[in-house]
Subunit: 512 residues, 2 copies
């Protein structure tokens, strides 16, 4: 972009708008804090009021953001914004706020509050349904969730597909059709690879099925993400049921994990994953604090960073060349006699599995595609919530050749539909996988030494490249703009295919 | 109160007003959660934004509560309220909201936000000043605090004393003059008692000056407050710098503590103390949830409950008859050979001390009176902030015959002025001591078996009496009404004098 000499002066409305946006962002941060606390430390007695409180802050945030005054301020500052370079902070802020304001004005604040309160109650019902392994305990709630999801989409009619407005909240610029095309291409390559792999005798992973005490697992995870560059002065890790990253400000970006003492993969890879999300948020330009720019730009781009650090780095041989001896020191009895190669193959074992978050890199995307298809079917009205468990099981049989025997292993396994809406909840995971490989390829092309750095436990070069090309920009650019600027290409599956072919081709000696 | 047949029907405005008050209370709860998190788990990097966020929610709460519409609703519902029995929930709600609305309308919302933001920054500065033992690091902040305190009082002019409006926020109905009278009476009795006690050779407390590992201290504290009736399904305990109780809803009332491994009194008595506050809040009528009625009615009454459970129960011989053998089981090496009587006398040792929160029951009030006098002097302009450390030290010498050698042991020891305003911050502690004895005397008169119950670790009878006569009412009645209803008397120092004379007369064989 060219630098033009700007002589125009920011109108006073810009400062007023920013101050107002600070309030909106503070209310959103409050919602995040309510959720973090609910998921980590809140006693059960707090649940009912917490649902109301979440609804209150979401409604207030929405009410504040959609005030008429915001529209007047925007009209005042837009001519000024057009005099600024496209990539300048203020021009980007004005563009983003206009876009989000236009969208938000279509939705009544009381509807947002309804959704928030319903979600909080549904989450509590899901906790019970999950514990009791009984979908019927949350079915009527999920039926209401579907109605609310359809109602939300309705505010954006006309659309090409009813899922489009919902997808756009998570992944701006993406549509059901474009995602479907991308997923179909990918699936066409994945299925034969998975078939070839599964035709072989399975890799051994008994070394991971031992007792690994919690404290040592936590310590190892913290050591690894510290090396990544996660800043503990601006974050912390706590335990929860379903790991997530959350942000209360650019100075306070937290992660959560869960530990299984009978399988260290859970804690290790969820820690690396959430740290990837957190590195993104911690890397945003500090001058964006309390403005809507200070957010990861989309679910897909966010997920690209969690998956990049979890998989492309964290499941690579290079990473473990440095970290495996350290892990062995934490678990000498369990891993002392296990070779790096055995461990590396164990953590990259491909197999049919029921649980998305436990799935290997290859089959993972099939889990996501199943959920994406189910969301479209539900929203279109082709599938009723009461038939969802069966449709889920049928989809699992068709795509993965496995049928869950319980709801916990099936339709109840993911929190998303029970903690938010149906539509737009899952595509980001596979978009993220695809983007991760494309970003990583660009980073390696620019900085080939990243590869050997990682073998020595050094992540500064990679972290800096990502900060420069992705993190610092927050939501300044659209996901499409960001990807093109960072990688020189529009989003495509080539880099991802190259990555999985090379990696799994080698591990499984595939003919591709 | 007599039951009258009410034929009037609640106007629709009452439901609208209640819904609006729910939002205000939710915003206040959000402020509490921000503070709890800041004091327990927040990384240091979060401090700056947290100050802004605290200011935002306080401002929003104030803005919402002071909207013109609240006044219109009040006008609509007040005639209805007058048809209801005085002690009914709705009549009490309308009375309370009118009173608080009238007060709140005198203060601009932006001023409240200024105070909140200033407080959060001052708190961070105090943390540093305290760590570095250097009052100068927070002096200019405290000067601003004094200005803000005077400004707040100014919104309520004319007044008898500049501290009156500030005291009224904490202890409704109390004034500088009435407190001064009460404190002077008490001091006249305390000083000779303290002199008699200090003329004797000090009681031995070496048994408490050993190493007591943290985990066992925490476990013992939890066991004791569970027996009190603290409901862990609606609460939890975490660690902090300066223990406090906080409430996010009637289903979520939390406490915090701090532990000194070289002195178990810190954790034990702060736990019993905060649990006393929490029992009060957990005992409020659940139908008050998210209404302003769902709060302890004043600083003094709140403190009466923390001090009642901490001191009248928790430092009594009867309590330890049951709990001392349990404490010995947690610390067999440290306490196995120490008799109950030695332990009882050690935890009730009276001595000159520098730190209020470490002070025994007798000298404690002298610490409070010093702070109360300093607040009046600062607010009146008789004392400048720069001269405060010296005035503090001089006051300590005069009242307690001891001079702090450092700021940490002097003016920096309490968080109150650095986390809020000057004025009304301390009188509640001694009012609470006085009230605690009066409530306890009434409870024992009604239920003499409370005494033997406690010797058996049974607290249900006491807890029930307090719930019935104090807790359930929340803020339905004024403190004065509550005390008269519960004890049959206006507030007076007789019960408290009787309590300390009996207890310390026995321990120290005083001639009174």
């Amino acid at each position: 972009m060219t630098c033009t000499l700007t002589v125009s002066v920011a109108p006073p409305a810009l400062e007023q708008l920013k101050a107002h946006l600070n309030t909106v962002q503070d209310l959103k941060a409050m919602g995040e804090l309510l959720h973090w606390d609910q998921s980590t430390y809140m006693p059960t007695g707090g649940a009912q009021a917490r649902a109301r409180q979440s609804a209150t802050v979401k409604r207030l945030a929405h009410e504040h953001f959609t005030q008429d005054q915001v529209g007047y301020w925007l009209e005042e500052v837009e001519p000024y914004g057009l005099t600024l370079p496209y990539g300048s902070t203020e021009a980007s802020l004005i563009r983003l706020v206009r876009k989000e304001f236009t969208k938000a004005r279509r939705v009544p604040a009381c509807f947002m509050a309804q959704v928030a309160e319903h979600s909080a109650h549904t989450y509590e019902a899901w906790i019970k349904a999950y514990a009791q392994n009984d979908f019927s305990l949350v079915r009527s709630k999920l039926e209401r969730t579907l109605e609310l999801s359809q109602q939300l989409a309705g505010y954006f009619a006309p659309y090409d597909h009813i899922a489009d407005p919902l997808i756009d909240f998570a992944d701006p610029g993406m549509k059901a059709r474009s995602i479907h095309v991308l997923f179909s291409q990918l699936e066409a390559h994945l299925i034969p690879m998975v078939q070839q792999v599964l035709a072989q005798s399975p890799l051994a992973d008994q070394c991971l099925r031992q007792h690994f005490p919690e404290e040592a697992q936590l310590s190892f995870g913290l050591e690894a993400i510290k090396a990544f560059g996660y800043d503990f002065g601006r974050g912390r890790q706590d335990k929860t049921h379903h790991p997530f990253m959350t942000k209360f400000s650019l100075g306070d970006v937290r992660i959560t994990t869960r530990i299984r003492e009978d399988d260290p993969r859970e804690a290790i890879f969820s820690t690396l994953h959430e740290a990837g999300h957190a590195l993104y948020e911690q890397g945003i330009d500090p001058s964006f604090e309390a403005l809507p720019l200070a957010e990861g730009v989309s679910a897909g781009v966010h997920e690209s960073q969690s998956r990049l650090w979890e998989n492309l780095v964290g499941r690579s041989r290079g990473f473990w060349e440095h970290f495996y001896p350290r892990l062995q020191r934490y678990f000498p009895d369990q891993l002392g006699s296990i070779t790096l190669e055995t461990f590396y193959r164990a953590i990259n074992k491909v197999e049919r599995s029921l649980i998305r978050t436990d799935a290997d890199e290859l089959t993972y995307n099939l889990h996501v595609m199943l959920r994406f298809d189910l969301e479209l079917a539900l929203l279109e009205g082709r599938l009723a919530v009461k038939d969802l468990p069966e449709a889920w099981n049928e989809g699992m049989r068709a795509r993965l050749g496995l049928v869950p025997s319980t709801a916990k292993e099936g339709v109840l396994q993911d929190v998303h539909w029970f903690d938010g809406l149906i539509g737009g909840a899952f595509q980001g995971y596979t978009l993220g996988n695809i983007m991760a490989a494309q970003f990583y390829q660009a980073a390696l092309a620019a900085e080939p030494a990243i590869h050997t750095d990682i073998q020595h436990g050094q992540f500064g070069r990679l972290h800096t490249w990502l900060k420069t090309h992705v993190y610092q920009h927050g939501s300044k650019f659209t996901p499409d703009e960001l990807i093109r600027q960072a990688t020189g290409q529009p989003l495509g599956i080539e880099a991802y295919l190259g990555y999985i072919r090379t990696k799994y081709g080698e591990i499984y000696a595939l003919s591709l």
